[in-house]
Amino acid sequence: MTAHSFALPVVLFSAFWGLVGIAAPWFVPKGPNRGVIITMLVTTAVCCYLFWLIAILAQANPLFGPQLKNETIWYVRFLWE
């Protein structure tokens, strides 16, 4: 199953990290370590989400494509048509 849309992964991962970073902190049990755990969750969510988002946006909007030789391009065109 190929993901044709670009929106699906974005929605999925945003929801996941949003769960981790925004929803989960409310459910951390009260205790001496509450502050530390909430900080950890939020920092993890922000860092990992940002990292993933930048990677996927950069790969979806590349600066240049693969540098192929002319023979290769002709052969690929032949194969795919």
Partner: protein, 472 residues
Amino acid sequence: MASVFRSEEMSLMQLFLQVEAAYCCVAELGDLGLVQFRDLNANVNSFQRKFVNEVRRCESLERILRFLENEMEDVVKIVKLEKYPETPLPREMIDMETVLEKLEAELLEANQNQQTLKQNFLELVELKHLLKKTQDFFEAETNLPDDFFSEDTSGLLELRTTPSAAAAKLGFTAGVIKRERVIPFERLLWRACRGNIYLRYTEMDTPLEDPVTREEVKKNVFIIFYQGEQLKQKIKKICDGFRATVYPCPESATERREMLDGVNTRIEDLNTVITQTESHRQRLLHEAAANMWAWEIKVKKIKAIYHILNCCNIDVTQQCVIAEIWFPVADAGRIKRALHQGMERSGSTITPILTTIHTRMAPPTFNRTNKFTAGFQNIVDAYGVGNYREMNPAPYTIITFPFLFAVMFGDCGHGAVMLGFALWMVINEESLLAQKSTNEIWNTFFSGRYLILLMGIFSMQSPWEQACLFRY
């Protein structure tokens, strides 16, 4: 307010303690580990402080303990108990002093006896070998007069049949020398006596144990035949110079046999005595080993308490000890409870008095950590300890440090290895902590186990985001 995001609020207080209660109160505060004592006697030389004698006594106790530990090293294993012993009272120090000094004296005496016995044993064994070897010498010696007395041809036939008579003309010295020294010994004898002596030597088969250095040395048995008193003196001096032990060896074979029997019985007796002294010494060490660890901890604690008491002011007129302490405001209740306990333990009735001091001094920075955050706080402090009540970057470091590590490392396979290693360390935390290893590299890894755990987790998930699973 106590928080992990800022360093804690500290307060400076002056503590008035009764002199008798001072020791116990300081002990209780030491067990608590939440208080920093200011050094009020910074300008006083360490040899002029009040409790310098007690510190000296502790140092001598430590010396005795080190000596005992050395003796026990290859013999007995020192048992480490689970719980640390309680802080001892000052009068316990006097008991420990008597016990340890007695132990030291007994052990020194046992060592000395063993050394003398081993020395005697060595001499007897050498003598035994000597007697055996000289047997061969004297039998071979019947050919000797041929080379020696070329002028006296008529007496040769008689000499051949009566070796004892020939031996009577010659004097001889028998002894034992180290194998390395034999060749120079022979050369020097030849030169000094102008070739007028006859030296024979053979190797001793068994190497002997030197009692002082406890090494094995190889020795040779030698016998020197000479004529005349002057040569005898020369030979004696040369033997002394080469540290060759000379033994009186009787001339006739029957006397030698009797001596050999005597020596054998003496060797057996000495063996039994040596084994008995050895077992006595082992018994002493075993008894001491049972208490060694507890003693070491107790002495360390006493010494630490007296160091702290040295930092305080002693006000003799009012019979009290004045100390200045920094402590976190959040722990004021625990400290007051500890002081109360110390006062009860020492049996005094006057409660310690705490008064606040208002000062412009910069209070110390204290960041409360648990076993998880301690590793990260260490990394942050390595770059520099923050100012008082400054924002503490450690909680953010817990995640950002492993995350950036994973961005650079990004290897799923090796990340799995790190994760496995860290999981093993964390799961077996208690048993590994109890081992108290002194290996620095292992301690570094173990104290950073949570760091490695997080680095492993992030390393495993970062490659998926970078779409680069295995880095080579």
